[in-house]
Structures are given as structure tokens and as C-alpha cells.
């Protein structure tokens, strides 16, 4: 597939944040002819992106309560399969009904899936047990949806690889110490290079805040405000693939109601609470216990499976400060142009979203950037196949 490289723009975009969104945005902007520099304080995807359970959402999980997210997910799922071929465990998923309440919830769930454009198929109890012999024998019925497993680090790394090959400068181990702001105009960033300890300035026409749950911490440096609440959840990985397909509980979102098979492990997630500092999450043991108990409601083998790891990851949730657990906030994403929200020029924040929607978030942000600098450049990331992740390390 030939890449249509637009005439080189004179504009330089500086992206702060080396997660999936930053990588996808670098890739999108490079294809639109921008010059791009991306800085990340640690290893790429070391923030939130690398930590999630690896679910490539069909969107079914959001079909009932969060239609916007559901539609985003199913569209992006198809695009990602096209532009990141061979990067997923595509085994579909089952939403399993264990209790009578689950069964009562099913018609609404099923209709919502179809209304969101998510292919769904009802599966009888007998068939569910044939497909997944390890399911709780109490299972009453199930719904098959096109969930899949992604590698939370390697899939976004493909975008970084493509961006880098296209000329983007990717700088991990580079910490932003200050935003360069003067007269309500952001002109760049001051950074400390953690490899040699040297301080430096990187100037650009626009700075993008793609730091996920750290979005507010960075925005504050420019005197801007973004309503992002870090909302962590606990995840548990146990040894062994206890299921062939992704298993979800057929009920309104709750704790521990997903099991994602991933390589030789099964990842059970997740829970939800809100914090102020995304660098200080902790791993509450009672949440871990909930993963075991809820997970084993779907697949009893989880109860006694050997623990490989238990950790926390902070979602960036957009919404009001008064949010309680985080579950009430939407999982959609938003691009904030700070000229409109805070009267500060040259600064844009993209936050919210999920691992599955990284490309869509990048497209939206790149569209906003083009509008701001007055450039007409179409998005090409729906068609251009990304490079394999190993290309990021190519000499």
C-alpha cells in the first residue's frame, strides 16, 4: 500500500506522553506531513497503556450504558485488525449469564449490541459448555461477540515504529520539567534528559498533552484545567489459559467480570476507585480477592490458579470532580483545545478513551491540530498498515 506523503508542513508538533495515544498521534501527524517530536519520561507505554488486560473491545461491554463508547470500539476494532494484521488473538468472546438476574438482563444487552453495530449470537447453555468446558456449570446461556486479545504494549509499539520510520523523533527517558508559556501562549517544553542529565528546550508550534491520567498534572503547568480523574483498577494474572475465548459476565459493569486469555496467562479484571496521584496507586488486597471471587463465578478454575501478578492501572476518566468510584463516568475520549477552554494558545489535551480507541483519539486530535494551524490534510491511518513492532528497534 503506497503511503501518500503530503508536502512537508512547516509545523512542528511536540507530543508529551509515550502511551498508545501519543504513538498513534505521532503516526497520524507524520502521515499528514507534520514534523513530530514525542517525549516520554520512561519506557514507551509504561504509564497506563501497557498495563491493561489486553482486551480488544468489541464494545459489547458498553452497549447498554455507554452507546458512544460501544460504537467507537466496534469501529476501531475493525480498523485495528486491518492496520495491525497478525497482532491479536482473535478468538471472539462470550458474555456468560450465571444468575437469573443475568438472564433477565440479556435481552436488553443483546438488543443494545445489535443497535451499536456489534455482531452478537445467542449461545445455549450446552453449547457454551462445549465451547468453554471450564465455565461455571451453573451457566444459563451466553452471547458470542467479537472480542479479542491484544498485546497492550506491542500493538501501540507498531504505531511508534511507523511514526519513527516516517521521521518522527521519539525520545523516551525525557522528563518534562516545565511548559514554555508566555502571554498565554505555549511555545514548547523544557525537558531533562534522564540518560545524560542535561536540561534542554524543545520548541514547537503546538504542544499536545497525551499523558493519560497525568493530563491534569501537565495542564496545570500552562495554567489550564482538564477534568481528568485518575481512576485505577486492580488486575490479576494467573498461570494457564483457563479459557479459549474472552469471558465476560453478562451484567451491568462490575468488578472482576472479565477474563482475558493472554499468552500463557489468564488476566482477570478489574475494579475501580478514584485517586489524586496516578503515581501512587497501591494494590489493595481486598480488590485482588474480589478478582478471584468474581472471576471464579465465571470460571471456577480461577480460584485455585497460581498467581503470576497483581497490579493496578489508572484509567484517565473525563468527568466531574465529584465522581465516586469512576464507574459512572463515560469511557469515551475528548480533545480539549485550551484556547477555547482556558484561553491558552498552542496547547491541546487529548484524554479519556481506552486502549482500543488509540487510533480514533489520534485522528480526532490531529483534526483539531490541522484546524488550529489552518492546514488541510486528510487522515490516512484507517488504511495505512503499520510496521511490525520490531521495526521500532531497527537500526
Amino acid at each position: 500500500m503506497t503511503i501518500t506523503r503530503l508536502p512537508r508542513q512547516p509545523y512542528h508538533v511536540v507530543i508529551v506522553g509515550g502511551g498508545g495515544t501519543g504513538g498513534a498521534l505521532a503516526h497520524d501527524l507524520i502521515l499528514r506531513g507534520f514534523r513530530v517530536t514525542l517525549v516520554e519520561r520512561g519506557e514507551l507505554t509504561s504509564g497506563t497503556t501497557g498495563r491493561h488486560h489486553g482486551l480488544l473491545h468489541s464494545g459489547a461491554r458498553y452497549a447498554v450504558k455507554d452507546r458512544e463508547s460501544a460504537v467507537e470500539c466496534i469501529e476501531e476494532r475493525e480498523i485495528l485488525r486491518r492496520v495491525c494484521p497478525g497482532s491479536f488473538e482473535e478468538n471472539d468472546g462470550l458474555f456468560v449469564a450465571i444468575t437469573d438476574e443475568d438472564v433477565a438482563y440479556e435481552p436488553l444487552f443483546f438488543e443494545s449490541c445489535l443497535a451499536s453495530g456489534i455482531p452478537a449470537r445467542r449461545v445455549s447453555r450446552e453449547e457454551a459448555l462445549r465451547l468453554e468446558p471450564n465455565l461455571n456449570p451453573e451457566v444459563k446461556m451466553a452471547v458470542q461477540v467479537p472480542d479479542a486479545t491484544m498485546d497492550a504494549m506491542r500493538m501501540p509499539l507498531r504505531f511508534f515504529a511507523s511514526a519513527k520510520a516516517g521521521g518522527a523523533v521519539i525520545r523516551p527517558w525525557t522528563l518534562v520539567t516545565e511548559l514554555l508559556v508566555h502571554d498565554r501562549l505555549v511555545s514548547g517544553i523544557r525537558v531533562r534528559d534522564l540518560v545524560n542529565g542535561v536540561d534542554d528546550e524543545i520548541r514547537g508550534d503546538l504542544v499536545v498533552n497525551a499523558t493519560g491520567p497525568w493530563a491534569e498534572q501537565l495542564a496545570v503547568m500552562a495554567g489550564c484545567d482538564v477534568p481528568i480523574r485518575p481512576s485505577p483498577g486492580v488486575l490479576l494474572a494467573v498461570r494457564g489459559r483457563v479459557c479459549n475465548m474472552v469471558i465476560n459476565r453478562l451484567h451491568p459493569s462490575g468488578d472482576g467480570d472479565i477474563i482475558v486469555p493472554q499468552r500463557g496467562l489468564s488476566v482477570v479484571g478489574t475494579s475501580s476507585w478514584v485517586v489524586d496521584d496516578p503515581d501512587d496507586l497501591g494494590v489493595p488486597e481486598d480488590h485482588v480477592e474480589r478478582m478471584y471471587s468474581e472471576g471464579s463465578m465465571m470460571v471456577p478454575a480461577v480460584r485455585h490458579a497460581e498467581r503470576r501478578a497483581a497490579w493496578s492501572a489508572a484509567r484517565p476518566l473525563i468527568g466531574s470532580r465529584d465522581a465516586d468510584t469512576g464507574r459512572e463516568l463515560s469511557r469515551t475520549f475528548k480533545c480539549f483545545d485550551h484556547r477555547e477552554t482556558d484561553g491558552v494558545e498552542g496547547f491541546v489535551t487529548i484524554s479519556g478513551g481506552k486502549g482500543t480507541t488509540l487510533r480514533a483519539m489520534a485522528e480526532t486530535t490531529a483534526d483539531v491540530i490541522c484546524r488550529k494551524v489552518g492546514v488541510e490534510a486528510a487522515c490516512q491511518t484507517r488504511e495505512i498498515v503499520t510496521l511490525p513492532h520490531t521495526a521500532y528497534y531497527a537500526a
Binding site: G42, G54, S87, C243, N244, L265
Partner: protein, 248 residues
């Protein structure tokens, strides 16, 4: 940290440091005293050090569950993934970067060097999955697939005594990757890769220390892969020898 104060113990970490500009021969270590809980991992402690004691400490991490392979390092001389290595009890804990791969900074090694060999092996990321015994495949699914076990962590390369003395050896990771391609080509031609690895600095350089397989956090068994690769390479040579001018 969510443990109570009573459950915490203070542990001394001796961590290897390196910044650009250091003398090539110089080995520097910094000492940190860290509060460690009963379930703390090495990675948890490193994150604590970075957050509370020294923000310039650099180390790779991403998934926190032995899936991404970025946090490989040596703890008290043994290779492992920091995210699933518990903090050893009693005494100081020495943390060093992986061996046999150039060190960029502190605990970060230069994965470009690792992937240069790996890429030549050209392995695909996904393969056919084993099924849970007795299970059927769902409608619309032609074959069940899953990611390869190998998470490209470099631990096998670090543990290998041959790689420890010879930088030209391609190493167990690349060889295991080549074997996986030969074993399950998935539409690719394994011939060139097999010929590439049928080399004195590749498949034949191994001396069966088996350290790679023992150290691998993901069950890859690179040592067995190398032996099977040798068998395949020998068979391919024999076929070429006896093909009398047939396809090369």
C-alpha cells in the same frame, strides 16, 4: 503502599547506575533503603525509589504482569522479570542490568542490539493455540490462535555463558524465534531463515548449558528449540546434498 506499617520491612537495594558520559569500564552502584511489603516485587521497589528517592533512576517496565518483557534484569546475580520477582528476604539486594546486551543507562539495555538478530529470524507474533481439552471452536472461528510465549525480554541472552564470552553468537532468543518459524511457517518460507541459522555463530555455537531455558520466564525452552533447529538444518543439508542439481 497499602500494607500496614507492621508488615513493612526496610531493605537495602544496591542498584547499578550508568549515565551517558561514564567511563566504559566504570561500574557504579547507588544504595537505597526502601520500605518493602510482603507482596512487593523488585519493580514495586524500583518505582518507589524513583518516586521518593531518585527521579533519575531509569528502568524499563510496562505491563506489570510478565507479558511485555521490558523489565528483565539481574537480581542478586540471577536473571528475571522485575515485575514478578519478589524482593528476596534477608540482606542486601543487588540489582543490575541484563548481561550481554549493551547498557544504555542504569538498568536499561539497548534492545536495538537484541532485535537486530531477532528480526533476521523473522518470526510472526501469533500462532495456532492449543485448545482446552474437550472444547469446540466457536462459530465463525477457523482456528484458535494465541501469542507466542516469547516476550522478547532478553533474559535468555543474558543467562547464556556462550553469549557471555562471544558477542558474535546470535543467541538463544533469535534461534528460538527461527525455530518457531520453521515449525509453523504460517505462509512464510522458512528456508532462508533455516539456512541463515545453519551457521557456526548460530545454531552450532550452543554448548548446551541450558541456562536460557532455565531462566526463561515464559516457558519458551530456547535450548530445545536450538536442538530441533539443528536437526532441521541437518535434514535440509542432507536433502540439498542428495538432490543432485535439484532446487537449492
Amino acid at each position: 503502599m497499602t500494607e500496614t506499617a507492621a508488615e513493612l520491612r526496610t531493605t537495602r537495594f544496591v542498584v547499578s547506575r550508568r549515565k551517558e558520559g561514564d567511563d566504559p569500564g566504570e561500574l557504579r552502584y547507588d544504595t537505597f533503603d526502601v520500605a518493602v511489603g510482603p507482596r512487593s516485587t523488585i519493580l514495586d521497589s524500583l518505582v518507589s525509589i524513583r518516586r521518593e528517592l531518585d527521579p533519575t533512576l531509569t528502568f524499563r517496565h510496562s505491563c506489570f504482569h510478565a507479558s511485555c518483557g521490558t523489565c528483565g534484569m539481574r537480581v542478586n546475580g540471577r536473571e528475571g522479570l522485575a515485575c514478578v520477582t519478589p524482593v528476596p528476604e534477608g540482606g542486601e539486594v543487588m540489582v543490575e542490568p541484563l548481561g550481554n546486551i549493551p547498557v544504555v543507562t542504569d538498568l536499561v539495555v539497548d534492545m536495538d542490539a537484541f532485535y537486530d538478530e531477532f528480526d533476521e529470524a523473522g518470526r510472526p507474533l501469533v500462532r495456532v493455540s492449543e485448545m482446552i481439552p474437550g472444547a469446540e471452536m466457536a462459530e465463525g472461528i477457523d482456528e484458535l490462535e494465541r501469542y507466542e510465549d516469547c516476550i522478547e525480554c532478553g533474559i535468555c541472552l543474558s543467562a547464556c555463558p556462550v553469549a557471555g564470552s562471544d558477542p558474535r553468537y546470535v543467541g538463544p532468543a533469535a534461534l528460538a524465534a527461527a525455530w518457531r518459524l520453521v515449525d509453523e511457517p504460517r505462509g512464510r518460507d522458512p528456508g532462508p531463515v533455516l539456512r541463515l541459522m545453519d551457521d557456526e555463530q548460530a545454531a552450532w555455537r550452543c554448548h548446551l548449558a541450558w541456562e536460557c531455558t532455565e531462566a526463561c520466564p515464559s516457558g519458551v525452552d530456547p535450548a530445545a528449540a536450538i536442538m530441533r533447529l539443528r536437526r532441521a538444518a541437518t535434514a535440509a543439508r542432507a536433502r540439498r546434498l542428495f538432490s543432485f542439481g535439484g532446487t537449492r
